[in-house]
Amino acid sequence: MPAPIRLRELIRTIRTARTQAEEREMIQKECAAIRSSFREEDNTYRCRNVAKLLYMHMLGYPAHFGQLECLKLIASQKFTDKRIGYLGAMLLLDERQDVHLLMTNCIKNDLNHSTQYVQGLALCTLGCMGSSEMCRDLAGEVEKLLKTSNSYLRKKAALCAVHVIRKVPELMEMFLPATKNLLSEKNHGVLHTSVVLLTEMCERSPDMLLHFRKLVPQLVRILKNLIMSGYSPEHDVSGISDPFLQVRILRLLRILGRSDDDSSEAMNDILAQVATNTETSKNVGNAILYETVLTIMDIKSESGLRVLAINILGRFLLNNDKNIRYVALTSLLKTVQTDHNAVQRHRSTIVDCLKDLDVSIKRRAMELSFALVNGNNIRGMMKELLYFLDSCDPEFKADCASGVFLAAEKYAPSKRWHIDTIMRVLTTAGSYVRDDSVPNLIQLITNSVEMHAYTVQRLYKALLDDISQQPLVQVSSWCIGEYGDLLVSGQCEEEEPIQDEVLDVLEGLLVSNLSTPVTRGYSLTAIMKLSTRFSSINRIKKVVSIYGSSIDVELQQRAVEYNALFKKYDHMRFNLHVLYDLVSLLFQANDLLDLLGGNDVVPVIQTTLPTKPASAGGELLDLLGDLSLSGRTTVNGLKIEFTFERANPNPNIAVITIHATNTTEADMTEFVFQAAVPKVITLGMSLSHRAPATPVAGRAQCALTKVARYSVSSGTLVRLASGLDVRCVKKQCGWLGCVSEDA
């Protein structure tokens, strides 16, 4: 049988294939030949065949039938065989298959081989792919080699030990004695791998960390020698002596100095020295500076040193090399919390990085910019960030929009600015805004009482331009429903629309196929709310009744209930107006109770209608101030005041105190106070007056205290009294009114 073709020959042949099919054919032919050669247990050419198999494997073809052959090669006495065998094992064998365990004995023998290159092969393979079982079996051999005087083997044994420790952490103790004199080595290879081993041990075990802290002076000395020593051709890289070792030592110092004042102090000088003396013209110098900065920031360094470190990062930001700018931004992001003022000094450079072409740099610059926003720089920063929002890739827009909202909420210099900023975000990146922003924004707008007219006008205009961005459309619809009267009443600076135009726009949303079901819900509710503010009631009635047979169940339900309002309880409809305002109160209650995110729903308090004959219409609530957490309503002579506060000590409990005062001369009878809450809220009530039959005497007061624990849920309903109840619909701030019986 002719000798199997040589490796290079095969490679040459395969490369002549012009199509994938041709290549596959050649490979299959060769694989068949190799398979039969393996079957014949041919020792001479096994090495060559496995090498060819490895080549084909790299091209992507299956080679698992060569696994056992690799093991045979490893077991061979010839160095050539072992070389290929171990390589094959590392490429083809996988620790999850039991087959790999067959290697263990061979490796054990080879670790004790007379030729150091064979020992090296064994150490390398074990250190690269040794499974936990193998490591357990062979740890002793590795430990022995760690103590040898042969530096070639010692350095490999150290890294092999690192791997063993990673796989079987309990074995760490066993390597402790061998570490004793590792740092007294002159050989850089051994030094480097020893530092890696020490680092691994210190990272994994606090005891080891304590034990090795005493090495700090020695490490400092070694680092100093590296910096001060003259040119050493063997380890020189662009004028720096063994940068790899320097970086590893700096990293170990970081771990040892962390949360320890003495160690940190001992390394203070050398860190300052490295930071100031390292040549920065090439990447290698910057690599060392980078590691130094990370170390300075992590240990208990004195403030002068920290400022030095941040300034190095600031210089990095101005470097032409993108990679340097990238690591600078990453590091600044890590330190911005602890050294905020120092980082602020570099704010303008950071903001410039928003315009960088590289995606990773842009993202970091954006995160860092948001971290640097404060009350003093909000206007300038927001300009830059909004510009960024306009021009950035879609993958950034959601995060950027959220960031803008958060920053605006924290530092807005004025309400108008705040509203304008939100408008800008909604109009430029409206489709990327997160779902939970809509309720948050509505709450914000509600709280900015003096801006209502301005806001609704701007939002209305925005709707005229574009109805495709759903969050914008939803917020706008809500506002129009809420403040539509302000929109048409001439309070706005520009030409105001007439009622029919507004209704046109809202109806347009209902029919547009750009609108999602959620949006349609908002617009239907808004139309309904306008029935108490506008005069075109018939038109509204018509729209509402049409949607009573809508395919969309939500929409249909709402429409039906609104319809009912028109039909049965028309006289109550005006009072809904009052109730709608009460919802605003409860948004403020939200603030108090820190209902964050997913602000589905706000519980609604309703007012009571005493049995005294009602006068037509309700009276407008007088909403107090912006942030006062209270409100009052007077309906037909019954004045009701609400205050909200957080209970001490349990912040999950809100205490709502209701004062009801009969401001009329006559007695009010059958004043009923009821409260019903869904399961998610637990309600404790204490009343000073409860009996329904007890009349509330003229000008008398009764004080009620109600305690409720709020949570985010839908359909929350709180009825303070019989009468109208208003239910908040899931996930929206629109709501429908439905009427229940009088108690």
Binding site: L7, R8, R83, G120, G127, V162, V196, A287, N323, S360
Partner: protein, 159 residues
């Protein structure tokens, strides 16, 4: 380091060194996806990217991409130096290395890498020492092969 890949501009893998246990299938998937991601990057972009939950450091030398996946706490800039050192070693060994050298002598490229890195960390920081070790090992291999040849000849000539 978790793994190192060398691949051409057409996406053909020339070397793959894995320091974490992964099945063949998983390795193939990672290689394929990562290679595509890197080839899609423009030349002026920086050498670092976050990919899945890994930090990737890559650099192109002529027609070959050298790509490493490193851990969170690893220094990206020094990883670039590691890559550069490996290229220098190949260059010294092959004499002005080019992609063809890596293709036809892939096993040597692995041997050199295994003398420079072990378990994902540098075992030797002196270029000279790495090259010396490879040279010695090659000599050992040659000696054995010559001995074999001699043995064959002896068998043929012996009566």
């Amino acid at each position: 380091m978790q793994f190192m890949l060398l691949f051409s501009r057409q996406g053909k893998l020339r070397l793959q060194k894995w320091y974490v246990p992964l099945s063949d299938k998983e390795r193939k998937k990672i290689s394929r996806d990562l290679v595509q991601t890197i080839l899609a990057r423009k030349p002026k972009m920086c050498s670092f990217l976050e990919w899945r939950d890994l930090k990737i450091v890559y650099k192109r030398y002529a027609s070959l991409y050298f790509c490493c996946a490193v851990e969170d706490q690893d220094n990206e800039l020094i990883t670039l130096e590691i890559i550069h050192r490996y290229v220098e070693l190949l260059d010294k060994y092959f004499g002005s290395v080019c992609e063809l050298d890596i293709i036809f002598n892939f096993e040597k490229a692995y041997f050199i890498l295994d003398e420079f890195l072990l378990g994902g960390e540098a075992q030797e920081t002196s270029k000279k020492n790495v090259l010396k070790a490879i040279e010695q090992a090659d000599l050992l291999q040659e000696a054995i092969e010559q001995a074999d040849l001699l043995q064959e000849v002896r068998l043929l000539t012996d009566p």
